[in-house]
């Protein structure tokens, strides 16, 4: 039996096949088909199975990560959402949190709310902050309102009332009315989806879910039917934004939880190898032609963010802690009036792409600079799938070199120095915010362009080391297939811990756990395969922000033990505790995990060579000038044998650049590890 991991990206759709021993036996890439993404999925999967000599019936799981949801939100291609709010608060999306994305703009851009004002309807009802219903839902008024609502087959209804996180009665009653009036429309309430205080974020979360339901449900339905037609009848799982996977049906009704499924799966894959190598703290760098994303990973798994954004839209539930740091290889290069190099922020994107792609791009990009510095093999880029044209890169870079008064290659090298300094400038503050020390941090680089630039970034930032996992071009697909089931639950408490007491605390957790278990059981996860992890958002009274505290499953749960865990962590971070201060518990959380079937080996079965690449040597340009570097094929590397820079290690996925001063070693998992050469 085999398991398949799939990742649908903007340019390519990747497939990974894993056998029953947990070995990756096949990786495969086909061009994406954005108009109907399932076509590329089918093509990629069929080809991979064929190459592996496996019939479709041998698949027992397909795990399918994608960026369809996030693209739909960014491009605003989704349902026509109708939003019901509490009377007086219909502008919750217009006002947002007031702050705008560019505080320096003289003429700030007008934001586009997810739901235009004329599709927002105010409803008479009110719940207090303490959770008592001050005013029951005015059913008559709601029925009248529902008569005015414009409905099409693209309509979905979101219901988000004030303080519904504390009592969901009015939202439930409203949902019943809406369902009675429009039995076929998707209806989402904020309290069932994510019952956390802060009306803007919760409302938006609900709206985004409603926005995605019709789009994603239709896509998943098409995918399932198409797979069935090809004889694939196994389970289909979708990666969740916070890591882990969920069943495709569940993902169709709560697609918001899979918004960042691609990045989450990628970080899961990166963590898998980092852990196998004994790495504790790492930052992942996923760089492709149009984006460069970093995510933070701790020793036990993904670091979660509850303050993530998609564009300008906040995501209230936990997600992988991913941030964009520039536009990747497609970033356009210029020289400004003062003679300074500017890299980005605009990008040549995937179309036309860098000049050297030969698709009509004429502006110089970072990828063109790689090529001119000798980092890329024009004949063996992406395993030969795309022939690069050095002459076009030269033509594009010529004006830059002329303005700088440099040779073409020196100019290209200078461009890379600036590009890397810019990435470092984005990454340093992100690390500072998370108390991550660069000198202790491992960079896990993947995506087509990540391993090419990461060695230089390692040197610029003085990071500890860098890891390139095997199959870096298909790591998101691998991450999808190795992810466990995952569910997140939250309960607002907002109480003094002492007043709350152990009994209530235990009861609240028991309620959350019951919910989590119900969810896991619905995914077919039995008691022996599940793990529940308790967490809490806690602060001293008067403090401005919560600290997230994970509670050890071994420890018995009491008010005192919770306080103890909080104070231990507080001491770690701030260097003190305040035993006299009251402790406020804001939220309780449960993260439920369920093992999916099967072993996973952190290595890749050696594949026979079918690439056009060739070992040898090539001139490479670094900051200090030209040098000759060895060119090696990844598959030819010997475990443990060091390769000193300057060198380039090529594979069908990527080119790993080993700058002078670094050394690359192949690990038995198949990963390349780059470290600084230690001077004797």
């Amino acid at each position: 039996m085999y398991r398949a991991g799939i990742d649908v990206g903007g340019t390519f759709t990747d497939v990974v096949l894993m056998d029953h021993q947990g070995l990756v036996v096949m990786t495969h890439k086909v061009p994406s088909t954005p108009a109907s993404p399932q076509e590329a999925v089918l093509q990629g999967l069929s080809e991979a199975l064929e190459k592996a000599g496996a019939p479709p019936a041998d698949l027992d799981v397909v795990a399918h990560g994608n960026t369809l949801g996030v693209n739909a939100v960014i491009q605003r291609r989704g349902a026509e959402v109708v939003l019901l709010t509490t009377a007086g608060f219909g502008d919750v999306l217009e006002l947002a949190r007031l702050r705008m994305s560019d505080p320096l703009a003289l003429v700030p851009r007008r934001p586009r709310p997810m739901v235009p004002r004329n599709r927002v309807f105010e409803v008479s009802e009110r719940t207090s902050a303490a959770g008592s219903v001050r005013q029951r839902l005015d059913v008559e008024q709601l029925r009248e309102t529902l008569k005015d609502i414009p409905v099409s087959n693209q309509t979905a209804v979101a219901i988000a009332f004030l303080n519904s996180y504390a009592n969901d009665a009015n939202e439930k009653a409203a949902r019943a009315e809406v369902q009675a009036a429009f039995p076929n429309l998707p209806v989402v309430t904020s309290s069932e989806l994510w019952p956390e205080a802060r009306e803007y974020e919760r409302t938006l979360f609900t709206v985004m879910n409603a926005f995605l339901v019709p789009v994603m449900r239709v896509y998943y339905e098409k995918l399932r039917t198409a797979l069935k037609d090809r004889g694939v009848r196994c389970r289909i799982l979708i990666p969740r934004s916070s890591g882990g996977v969920m069943d495709i049906d569940e993902a169709g009704t709560t697609p918001i939880h899979t918004l960042l499924s691609g990045p989450a799966a990628g970080a899961t894959g990166a963590h898998f190898f980092a852990k196998a190598l004994g790495v504790t703290a790492s930052v992942t760098l996923d760089m492709g032609g149009t984006s460069a994303d970093v995510a933070f990973v701790g020793p036990e798994g993904l670091v979660h963010s509850t303050d993530n954004h998609v564009g300008e839209l906040p995501v209230i539930a936990p997600t992988v802690d991913v941030s964009a740091i520039g536009a990747g290889g497609g970033s356009i290069v210029r020289v400004d009036v003062s003679g300074l190099i500017q890299v980005g922020p605009d990008s040549a994107g995937a179309d036309p792409g860098p000049a050297c792609y030969g698709r009509g791009g004429i502006q110089p990009t970072v990828t063109d600079a790689y090529l001119l510095c000798g980092y890329l093999n024009p004949e063996n880029f992406l395993g030969g799938r795309l022939k690069l044209e050095p002459i076009l890169a030269r033509q594009a870079m010529e004006p830059i070199a002329a303005r700088l008064g440099m040779t073409l290659e020196s100019a290209a090298s200078a461009v890379l120095q600036v590009a890397i300094a810019n990435m470092a400038a984005e990454l340093f503050p992100l690390m500072a915010r998370r108390r991550v020390d660069p000198r202790e941090t491992t960079l896990v680089a993947y995506g087509g362009a990540g391993p090419t630039i990461a060695g230089l970034l390692l040197q610029e930032m003085n990071l500890k080391q860098m890891v390139v996992p095997p199959g870096p071009g298909t790591l998101c697909a691998l991450g999808a297939v190795i992810s466990p089931f995952k569910v997140d639950q939250v309960r607002m408490v907002q109480a003094n811990l002492e007043e709350l007491g152990t009994n209530l605390l235990q009861q609240y957790y028991a309620d959350l756990e019951t919910e989590a278990i119900r969810w896991l059981e619905a995914q077919g996860v039995g008691a022996s395969a599940r793990q529940l992890i308790r967490g809490a958002d806690v602060r001293y009274k008067g403090q401005p922000a919560d600290l997230f505290v994970e509670l050890s499953p071994e420890q018995s749960l009491t008010a005192e033990s919770l306080r103890g865990s909080f104070e231990a962590q507080h001491h770690d971070i701030y260097g003190f505790t305040d035993p006299k201060a009251a402790v406020i518990v804001t939220k309780l959380r449960i993260a439920g995990y369920g093992r999916t079937n099967g072993e996973v080996q952190p290595r890749t079965r050696n594949r026979e060579s079918d690439k056009g690449g060739q070992a040898g040597s090539r001139k490479l340009h670094f900051a200090l000038g030209w040098t000759t570097g060895q060119i090696l094929l990844w598959e030819d590397l010997q475990v443990g044998a060091p390769v000193s820079g300057p060198a380039v290690i090529e594979s069908e996925d990527t080119s790993i650049v080993v700058p002078p001063g670094l050394v690359c070693t192949l690990h038995e998992t198949g990963a390349c590890i780059l470290t600084r050469i230690v001077e004797a």
């Binding site: 007086g88 608060f89 219909g90 502008d91 919750v92 217009e94 006002l95 947002a96 949190r97 007031l98 702050r99 705008m100 505080p103 320096l104 703009a105 003289l106 003429v107 700030p108 851009r109 007008r110 934001p111 004002r117 004329n118 009110r126 207090s128 902050a129 001050r134 004030l162 303080n163 996180y165 205080a197 802060r198 009306e199 974020e201 020289v335 400004d336 009036v337 003062s338 003679g339 300074l340 190099i341 500017q342 700088l404 200078a414 120095q417 600036v418 300094a421 810019n422 470092a424 400038a425 340093f428 503050p429 500072a432 915010r433 108390r435 003085n462 008067g542 403090q543 401005p544 701030y574």
Partner: protein, 661 residues
């Protein structure tokens, strides 16, 4: 420029990263909501000459990028490694802090015993003592009422805190724990900044780093000059008003002569009002200072977004405000509520620049920022518990390309609001509405952004509501190029009941249980002729509820029947209204027209010049006498002219200023 462009490119990115990194350190280690959530702080890098060479652009307060810290650094001497200086003294530092609530921390940066620059950070302290909790009151009449004043003082020597100094400061604050927590955050950020700069020196050499700091400022300067050259030469005059300084009813005029000559931009504020008795004075040192130059800086970055964000932006700019001006007060003026004045100065710069760059700039925004502060007795102890219910803003002005933004604005500060669910959890209020205010945006081809409505019901006895910065209640945010002004703010008690009462710009309100208070903030001004706004857009505004059917007709000439436009009636109405459409650049609204019927520009200029010629100690008295005289005389008949005012002023002078009984 002495650096090679590649190294400079790399180092300027790193400088920006260090400033950003310091800001994140403050945000994760500080101890108050003001700093962590509201982000009322900044962290900057200074060269040895007191110029800012890096400032965060995405976190905290960005306005201080143009701060000149020469005076401040003179006072931070002698500076040794590991020292940290603290101050909040606007007078001694010539505006390095601008009210006592902003606590500034300075750390000299050393590399191998050599002074290579400084770190600067400030954060807004919850309380620094003074006459009431929170320290800031519009009615404070001198700075001593606003809290403890800390002249530049060494707080850390060799990285050890000087406990006597610390205790001296904290003993004079109502929230000593909060203040110390925030200061520690700033100090931690400074230390990390120094380490980062040292790493750069280790790698590139202090020489090269030093040259790069000068070069990034120089590059910004060159680009800023190039941007000024794109503004046509000329002299542009503009004035706008604060409704009053609260202590009196007389409006406070801010007047600017903006002169562009080649690549130089002069901002002459000399005709602005003399300092006021309330706390609205803005300490600037009388020269280039953020509060009286910021709009010009943002304009330059609008013209060229690649200008590095540092002191170099000020290279082509020369601002001046005479001592004794509301924009450069004598010590010991009160300065606590300088923000509304700075906000208006921003409008004035925009208005002047709009003449220089016709059809490029937006109309005035809502022009007010109102923290609604709520105090209620703690049920157990009976002591007052104070918190901010919400920060209220108005929308932005309409602009040549688009409508203004509804209910949001970030002209000077990038604050976040408080979720209603958080407010209701923490205060004994029920929020009844928080939404856009219909018909408040100035009508225009591009409509002004709306103000907002915020309505709260008070649930308990013994509560007090204050709201400083209730501005644009009289003088409207002006429209541009035919657009109409935004509608003024209002405050209403028990709206829609028999007890309904307009309470306007109230000072402190002690509501009874179940009283309902409604705040309506001003909308932004409109841009362009509203009669030319496509009917479909007016209809869409009607359907979304931002514009009423009445306003569609009276302001836009669009007749809406049911849910559709009556095109025939609309054409006829628009033709009838056309002759009345405003020509000219600005439309100010009736309040200002009425005010200026009495107070011509010449008369106001004359008043200001006489007051500057009056002994400082007598200015507010003489001002009051002259203002009252002008108002009384003009009420009798013909407006008073400048010459008559001069005569009256000279009489006073001859009598030794004191009027006969």
């Amino acid at each position: 420029m002495r650096s090679d462009p590649v190294t400079l490119g790399v180092l300027s990115a790193r400088f920006q990263a260090i400033a950003d990194e310091m800001a994140t350190v403050v945000q994760r280690t500080a101890s108050t909501i003001f700093v962590v959530e509201t982000a009322d702080f900044t962290t900057m890098l200074l060269d040895t000459r007191g110029r800012v060479f890096a400032c965060p652009m995405k976190i905290g307060i960005t306005v201080f990028v143009g701060l000149d810290c020469r005076k401040l650094l003179e006072l931070c001497a002698p500076a040794e490694e590991g020292d940290v200086f603290v101050t909040n003294d606007w007078h001694g530092t010539k505006g390095a802090s601008t009210h006592l609530s902003d606590i500034v921390v300075i750390r000299p940066f050393f590399w191998k015993d050599r002074l290579i620059g400084y770190g600067y950070a400030f954060s807004h302290a919850t309380d620094v003592g003074g006459k009431l909790p929170g320290s800031i009151s519009p009615t404070s009449s001198d700075t001593f009422q606003e809290g403890i004043r800390i002249p530049v003082t060494k707080l850390f020597a060799r990285d050890e805190v000087r406990d006597d100094v610390l205790q001296m400061i904290l003993a004079n604050c109502r929230a000593p724990h909060d203040n110390w927590g925030d200061i520690k955050g700033l100090v931690a950020a400074m230390r990390m900044g120094e380490n980062r700069i040292r790493e750069l020196c280790d790698r590139y050499g202090a020489e090269m780093v030093g040259i790069a700091t000068e070069d990034v400022i120089e590059v910004a300067g060159e680009k800023a000059r190039a941007a000024v050259r794109r503004i046509p030469d000329g002299e542009y005059r503009f004035a706008d008003y604060l409704d009053s300084d609260v202590v009196s009813d007389h409006p406070v005029r801010l007047a600017l002569n903006l002169t562009v000559t080649g690549d130089e931009l002069m901002l002459d504020w000399s005709h602005s009002a003399t300092q006021v008795q309330g706390a609205f004075n803005v300490p600037t040192g009388g020269t280039n200072h953020p509060w009286i130059t910021y709009r010009a800086l943002t304009l330059l970055r609008h013209l060229d977004p690649t200008i590095p964000f540092n002191s170099g932006l000020l290279t082509p700019i020369q601002a001046k405000a005479p001592e004794g001006s509301v924009l450069n007060p004598h010590f010991p003026a009160a300065t606590g509520v300088r923000f509304p004045t700075a906000l208006r100065a921003n409008d004035v710069m925009l208005g002047a620049l709009a003449q220089a760059l016709p059809s490029q700039l937006p109309a005035a925004g809502g022009g007010a920022m109102v923290p609604v502060v709520f105090s209620e007795p703690d049920p157990a102890s009976g002591r007052p518990r104070v918190l901010t219910l919400q920060v209220l803003l108005g929308g932005t002005g309409g602009n040549p390309k688009d409508d203004g933004i509804d209910g949001r604005n970030c002209e000077l500060a990038m604050l976040r609001n408080t979720p209603v669910e958080v407010t209701e959890r923490n205060a004994s209020v029920e929020v009844l509405a928080y939404r856009l205010r219909q018909d408040s945006g100035g009508a225009g081809f591009h409509r002004g952004g709306t103000g907002i409505e915020y309505t709260v019901r008070v649930l308990r006895p013994g509560c007090v509501i204050t709201a400083r910065g209730l501005e644009r209640y009289n003088f409207q945010p002006w429209g541009l190029e035919g657009g109409l002004p935004g509608i003024q703010g209002r405050t209403i008690l028990n709206r829609g009941t028999p007890q309904e009462r307009e309470i306007g710009r109230f000072d402190a309100l002690a509501p009874a249980p179940h009283d309902v208070v409604t705040f309506l903030t001003a909308g932004g001004g409109g841009w362009g002729n509203p009669l030319e706004r496509p009917g479909e857009k007016v209809l869409a505004d009607f359907q979304s509820g931002v514009v009423s059917v009445q306003a569609a007709q009276s302001e836009y000439g669009v007749v809406i029947k049911g849910d559709e436009i009556d095109w025939v009636a609309t054409e006829a109405l628009r033709a009838r209204m056309a002759p009345e459409a405003r020509a000219g650049t600005y439309s100010f609204g009736q309040w200002r027209s009425k005010h200026e019927r009495t107070w011509s520009e010449a008369l106001q200029d004359q008043l200001v010049s006489h007051l500057f010629a009056t002994p400082v100690a007598l200015r507010s008295y003489v001002s009051k006498v002259l203002v009252n005289w002008v108002i009384a005389e003009s009420a009798q008949g013909a407006p008073i002219g400048a010459a008559q005012l001069t005569k009256r002023w000279e009489e006073m002078r001859e009598k030794g200023w004191v009027e006969d009984v």
